[in-house]
Amino acid sequence: MKIITARRISQVFFLALFLWLCAVSILGEGWWQWRGWPVNAFLQLDPLVAIATLATTGAIYRGLIWALVTVIATILLGRVFCGWFCPFGTLHQVLGYIGRRYMRVAARIRVNTYHPAQAIKYYILLFMLGAAAWNLWRPVSPLFRSTLQTGLLDPIPLMQRSVNLTFGTLADHAFRPAAAGQRHYEGALGIGAVFLAALLVNVLIPRFYCRFVCPLGALLGVLGRFALLRIGKTHARCSDCRLCHVDCEGACDPQGHVRPGECVLCFNCTDTCPDDTLRYATRTSAAGERPWPGMTRRSALVALGTGLAAAPLARLSALAGTNFVPGVLRPPGSQAEDEFLARCIKCGQCMKICPTNIIQPALLQGGVEALWTPVLNHRIGTSGCTPNCVACGHICPTAAIRPLTIDEKLGRGEFAADGPVRMGLAFVDRGRCLPWAMGTPCIVCQEVCPVAPKAITTSDVFEEVTGGRLHVSEARDGVIEVSGVAWLPGQWATGDFHLQGAGGQPRAIVESGERTLRLGAEGEAVRRDASPHPGQDEEGPRAGEDVRIVVRLQRPVVSPALCTGCGICEHECPVRGLRAIRVTAENESRHPEHGVLVSGKKG
């Protein structure tokens, strides 16, 4: 078997594995669900994730240590990751292959020859590492903190996010709606557009992304600087047919001064060379090589410095401090915002695994640096945050969302003293709430509140309805008749409406006709508001008396000491547009300074 056949099998294998791991990222215990699948395997083998979070946090978190395998393989062999493993690279290669089938040989040679702009990816890498570097120093001012932006362009998080949130979701809708649920992701168009653009440009220039953009490729190119084995020529002179450039994936110029940092080890050149001059061997190319990226030290420093400057510039708007955005809610167990932004790689794994689909990619509401980080949206999901679920923190590869236990999330057992993990606090919008603003009975939010004891209680009042002032023309046996009205039969007999005489207690209306009302015995609800004159009204209204129809309203009131901000109330609120009860980031556990109570903790 030829090495390029093995390389193709390897690429197909890892691309299929990647897609499979995306497909099984569903909460559950079946073999086709998360169960024990290492769904973060690709992210954990990605050294840019490990190195960037090492810079921002000073540690390599759990599975990210697997990146060491890639790092060592790259140091010894070169960019084997790019040519043999990277699923994004495989897609580029396939599309590039299709694109250049329609090119003449001369055009193919031209397009696969090194271009100085390939240095751009090194500038991108330096810029991002610069932005991530501040936490190595941590000066006094909280402005000078890392922001982790590698995930925007790092191919593994990029592809993970794109498959999870866009094309994988579309495939689920089309082929297995039951298994994945009808999921939606806000701003999926933007994520999908970046992904598609990166793929389609291959038709013009093969592996465009790998050559010009990919910060991971840049990192691996530098790491492979001293690779023991490298592509090179056995003789300085050859027939110079340049056929080695026809299918060169990395545009690394094997014919001239080869650039090992650009070579992705596709082995197409050793296969096509008619002179049999190209080798993958310990020696450097007989024609010489250009081992360092094509950029000057000065321009490298500028890129790094720009990154260093960008991070505090982003923080000047104080979005991670006093100017925090109340609408930006983070998943349960998320780190405080500045730490969160130093950890999140925007891979979308939490958004994929969330069983209720409430974890959504942020647009720009949390600031530019928070683009595509997870935020909660209780309208788009299928419920609020499920109390007995901690999946997001367990899938998060970088602990931007900490892996909570159920006990810690609910504040039980050894965490009882800390109280539950709060994601925010629900506020009733009294201008939109049906019982508060519209005189319409509704108790949905109180009923669905999953906290025990319930964080939503009701304040019960009787309020006069519009057109409810009546004059009794006749009254006997608990039935009263009024003149000058034309009601729909049954209109007042829903159980919520009561009749109140002058100074008396409201009594429930049990039947209503076009002009008649029948009153029930004094009900349980009425009796609770202990009447100062019990029995006074037992006879009911008399003919000639002025009465009014009142409606019993149970108005929701949220207890900030109990509410966890799970958002189930917001999700269920019957005011479907701008909800009448909404969760905002006040009281969230990760920012004690956002508390609205003197003591943020329970009793």
């Binding site: 090495i3 215990e29 024990g36 040989v105 096509t272 499920t386 901690v390 367990h394």
Partner: protein
Amino acid sequence: MPARSRRTTHPAGPIERVVSWFVLLALVLIAAGLWTLQSRPNPALIPGASSPPAVAVAAEGWLNAIPVDFSPMGPPERFNAQTVSDKIDGKAELYLSAGFVSLTTRRMAGRERASEWFEVYVFEMESPRAAFAVYSAQRRPGARALPAPAEGYVAGNGVFALRGRHYVELIAADLASAPAAEAFAAALLDKLPAEKAALSERDFFPPDRLVADSVGLIAESAFGFDRLNQVMTARLRAGAGEVTAFVASRATPEEARALAQAYEAFLLANGGQGRPAPAGLAGTVGVDLYGALEVVIARGNVVAGIHEADDAESGWAAAQALGARLGEMLPP
């Protein structure tokens, strides 16, 4: 000119071939490793392992409807299979192995005398048969039966009763509180749905020898043998004393025969000595286990026998009676 015509390619050299196959082997190993890995679920993801049940059950309603003579000392508490050991740690397995659904408990005090208090336990089991198993396994000797039609008894300060798929215990704080518990039990039992337990094996015990209230059901691993499940036991009068008899139904005669042979082999493997059965007892073997007689009878789809008879004579007498009864009950 199309590109491909100009291209020549090289055949694979020996090193190249080895490396290529090595790569393929590595891929196969990775696939195998992943398959193994996925079969071990991440424990953090199994929801509800420690969460209390959210759904109310009927038992809560029964314990909320309190007769006027009683006042509750607290709200009803509910436990599921995961949490039942929070309440009866150490004895939970007895219920779980028999088929446990839920436990609801509540403490009650007499309205007149608050010092008289007791706790009510309502165990909901999977079936009336499962309820019977836990009821019979804990039967206290020398107890006073509850007045008919209730099935239950009073032992010391406790009231223990069975109705349908519910097993009920009322534990009184002291002997003086027991009558209050008994009165509450009577009211509670009335509310529980009646449901007939499928206990047809009971008929296999010879009625003339059967000791009243001695029938029990062992759900799992009877007499230390893990394959002997769903075994009905009873005390039979024999000679001057009593012996323990057992009956277990199986789906087919083959299954019953295989179980009988396996049980006999188990007894012999644990130090038993084979003893020939007296003439006229078909499909019967005896085993002397350290001086006690074990008898195993395979008849039709039933495995029956005698367990730990202290003297061989009464053991065989009971076995004869049991065999004869099986002959009557089973189709020839």
